[in-house]
Symmetry: C4
Amino acid sequence: MAESTTPAAAIDAPPVRAEDFEVAARAILPKGIYDYFAGGAEDEAALAGNRAAFARWRFRYRVLTGASDPDLSLELLGQRFAMPVQLAPAATQKMAHPDGELAAAKAATAAGVVYCLSTLSTTSMEAVASAAGVRWFQLYVFKDRGITTELVDRAAAAGYQAIALTVDTPILGRRERDLRNAFGMPAGFQYENLVGPLARAGPADLGQSALAQYFSFQLDHALTFKDLEWLAGHTRLPVLVKGVVRADDARRSVSAGARGVIVSNHGGRQLDYSIATLDALPAVVDEVGGDVPVLVDGGIRRGTDVLKALALGARSVMIGRPYLWALAVGGGDGVRGLLEILREEIAVSMSLLGVRRLDELTPDLLAGP
Amino acid sequence: MAESTTPAAAIDAPPVRAEDFEVAARAILPKGIYDYFAGGAEDEAALAGNRAAFARWRFRYRVLTGASDPDLSLELLGQRFAMPVQLAPAATQKMAHPDGELAAAKAATAAGVVYCLSTLSTTSMEAVASAAGVRWFQLYVFKDRGITTELVDRAAAAGYQAIALTVDTPILGRRERDLRNAFGMPAGFQYENLVGPLARAGPADLGQSALAQYFSFQLDHALTFKDLEWLAGHTRLPVLVKGVVRADDARRSVSAGARGVIVSNHGGRQLDYSIATLDALPAVVDEVGGDVPVLVDGGIRRGTDVLKALALGARSVMIGRPYLWALAVGGGDGVRGLLEILREEIAVSMSLLGVRRLDELTPDLLAGP
Amino acid sequence: MAESTTPAAAIDAPPVRAEDFEVAARAILPKGIYDYFAGGAEDEAALAGNRAAFARWRFRYRVLTGASDPDLSLELLGQRFAMPVQLAPAATQKMAHPDGELAAAKAATAAGVVYCLSTLSTTSMEAVASAAGVRWFQLYVFKDRGITTELVDRAAAAGYQAIALTVDTPILGRRERDLRNAFGMPAGFQYENLVGPLARAGPADLGQSALAQYFSFQLDHALTFKDLEWLAGHTRLPVLVKGVVRADDARRSVSAGARGVIVSNHGGRQLDYSIATLDALPAVVDEVGGDVPVLVDGGIRRGTDVLKALALGARSVMIGRPYLWALAVGGGDGVRGLLEILREEIAVSMSLLGVRRLDELTPDLLAGP
Amino acid sequence: MAESTTPAAAIDAPPVRAEDFEVAARAILPKGIYDYFAGGAEDEAALAGNRAAFARWRFRYRVLTGASDPDLSLELLGQRFAMPVQLAPAATQKMAHPDGELAAAKAATAAGVVYCLSTLSTTSMEAVASAAGVRWFQLYVFKDRGITTELVDRAAAAGYQAIALTVDTPILGRRERDLRNAFGMPAGFQYENLVGPLARAGPADLGQSALAQYFSFQLDHALTFKDLEWLAGHTRLPVLVKGVVRADDARRSVSAGARGVIVSNHGGRQLDYSIATLDALPAVVDEVGGDVPVLVDGGIRRGTDVLKALALGARSVMIGRPYLWALAVGGGDGVRGLLEILREEIAVSMSLLGVRRLDELTPDLLAGP
């Protein structure tokens, strides 16, 4: 991706769309950090493919339906949310802004949406819990199941309401920007949730490099549906499976106890040339949408993207990079601003589509690729 | 859209196609005004999509048919027109040229086509009536039905022959060019048709800003087919419904009293990623084309575009931006020049297609996408 | 099309493909003349479409067939030709090079292919006849049938072996390059075949401008299949119909006496957005290919293009612009060089396809779009 | 292809993907040599098409399969290889690097893959044999069958384990880069395998130019399946047929004694607009995949490309240009580095696909074009 040539004026102008935050963030973040957040695996074809999938769908909107004052709210796992846009887990948010996960979580809470905290956060889950409303915890399963259960139990104790189990990361994808930048977590940041386990299990030197190595070492490369079953049985929290792109895997996940499915390819950061998540969504919805909520992430930048995903059967979407850019640009205020833009875009587009409630969004409103 | 880099020479040359007027207009209009007319909603994907749809169709022309001296005339709502290109409603034409709606209406009349005046004109409907031949009045329905009926009754009294009811604008789309330009109607312009109602209903200060706010406030966000039925019953003028892209909505419109359907997505200015109007046309024609005339607008720049739309079942097309650019460049002479170019392009292409009359234009003449 | 930025060195290098001649010709021809030859109608979409159609087909070549020393010859209307590439009619070739039609005809004869002379040549048909071998005469039908029969009878008397009747030109297409350049036939050139008729019929002033106006005036805008029948009955020469893109028109042409069909859209110079000729070819071949030879022109630049057309059922192709560029660059030697390049490309590609004779070229060798 | 504008820094950086080697190689190789290796026939559409075919397929990966520590090994013609990437035959490798074929063969051996030596190598097959492990010999059949059998018998004597018979080269394709560069084998290089035969058969002057001419002259332009049958009967080595893109040709090859089929279009260097090899693969696999191993080359640059080819039924792939660039950049170390990158990419992607062994790669893992 070319270096920014955007004039300062454009960066200083108030953002009117989600992508404006990225332009501004690129101008202020160190290149290594910008690339870490922005990049995908290898050719970044999965990354680009997620985005491209949305443009292939067009709206066959309705007129004269009398729809006005659209209701963006939804119910998900027994709770009510203000709009169908949740904050996806993303690692090391203090690299984006000193206020990090805390600011993002507060903004999510203010907007009435889920904040899903990453295992690899730079703020501890307990600190985030004190600030956030509805919060989910994203989980990597570790070889040492004791660490795994400790994380899950801490999350439950801290009032997290769901576990989002990442299943698309048996190992890390090849992110060539990071290889070219020789990027590692800069000094001063650490995986706060892992400090305790590492202190007990690891060597004396608790530098961030040791933590990153420890994480890679501890990541379980060979998870199975049995592990999902074990996890679902271990915790009273509902477990959502994140990273599924196939209907058969979605069905097996539900059979193993998953209470929801997040169609995701990790933002194009894991297997390159993965099917676009929007392309993968309909088959998953057909298979398990009647049983559990199906969410989707990847490439969502617009209210119209959200509405397309919902018309294809998603209960809600999650966004990742957009809120990292907003965080980088304006801390918690940035994230609040982003969510307000998305809320406004969704509301306007619902009115123009002629729908009043999210459950009126059906495939009939779309003209397909 | 990039700033113009067209050399002055190119701008000074006589236009040979509709798009030449845009190049010239961009060079002379203030950026805010140019962007207001040129822009679409959000990503401008609906705007671009309208245009792109035409290029996907190719002609399977006929030879040795003996067709010559093609007859471009048509009958529409009981009147005869010189060619199947009508002037679509467009707001605030004095922003394009001081002569505004009056000049455009005279040019339409001279060319034998409909001039459809916008509710939001900068010339009063009575003033336009005195200069125009066949004229239609575009209507927004207001919350205050008294204002609505007053507008319709004034139109009937002033000799307008049809009402084009806009149904794709329950609220205004997000036009980001205007947001970035912080564009508002410049001083010196006002919605002339609304001065009277506002004077009676509104505050003392009748500045243009008050008018714009008044319009937004008064726009009925929740119109239904019952409102259409009411309107069709209220006036003796035929009502066309403008902004439909679905066959079922077209059928409901006709059932509610519409005497014609205009397939339109408001030039891509309302719901972004709306289906291209040419893509939406055939299903609407299939559903109601046997009962009422179907018109289409959006992206028409060439005589060949007009003929493709007619081959797919449209009775006529409407053009918007092209005549605004022509108006900006040359006032009424500009619009006359534009219409003459389109007439010539249609005539030449009809001869080359081997058709003599518009009703010989059938899908068989097209190779589809 | 952008002005040439090709360095002089590239222009001076010996051409290795047909398109090299265009680069060189653009560098030496006056812009008005270059544009006249290069341009197409309006958006030049038919022009580009002809070329693009070829790239959509790929070869499923055969191996180990033992094919070597391919035989490029073919029989057409009772005569044998050295290769399936004929020279299409093209007007005013002295504008490309002082040696004009005479040089091109000699080069065609040397290469063993047809030279088809245009009615609008800048060399008289009798002068060309004295230099050419197998020659066809392209005919426009004039309102004054006496002129028409005079042209046909002169052609027969001068030993032309076929008439190619152009049917896609009831009137001239809108070629905007010419409109922008205000291009007219430069002083010193005239339609040599029309000097006699004009002298008898027209005004005293025999300037080239008068001739051009006379041609436009005399062009019959309303030809029918009856006129084709009349022409086929009038002359003992076989009549091919040039400009057909539909199967039904091809069938009617054969029924009216045509002895061959040339699938053509006049090189994209007449109706813009005409179907690509390669796309139109298969249906015409299906309909009449068993009865008469079907030829095709439009966009052919490579030996592989020729072989694709033949695999889809064409008996031979015709080329237009490529030989005008070769003529401009090198006179008769240029055209000979071009034909040698094409012959070599065809021969190499036949070997690599595993075919020995042209009649082994079948659709099975292609993977379709 | 534009001249390199890559900054030196990028070239000096350690390569992270196969294509990095090409950027670096272009910067150091003489243009004529770079173009000789890089170029394809005519428009280079077959060359580009091979690459483009891969991007049309996307992965539907599996999760929670428990796959880890993927096994990249495979069995082919009775031998075990470390990964499904073999080195395709490529001529004159000393033009890339002074260590030439010897270095490439050693690197292949170190990586546990086949090195397939070209007939046109700049190192003799005996010299390569002394350094290589599993080695195949690529064969052109010569008009003088005595030379042919001598080459085959020498290969067998030198321990080559298979013959890859090239069948897509009855004559050489038109490679226009070479024509424009007037490229010939530079002084100091010769076809080492042909020196002996030429000394016996040819003129006194054994310069490299005489060798090149001798090769062209001796190449058999008219091979048939009978010749394949003869060859398969002559040698105890298994014969693979290289250059097949059709199912029927694959079947005839197997019937004539081929023990394997390599789907190839000679890297786009022979017939331009050949079908992409990945597009040709499935039909060949359907036809003969149950009987013999099917390999494929052309456009493979990534581990994901390898896995797509295997999912579509290939037993293994071959790479050509990538290892020539690696050889140019770093000699044998370069090739080793390239193979390590590919091995790593394949291993990571297998884990992310959820597969443990190559035979688990099935079409079900792909979403098609």
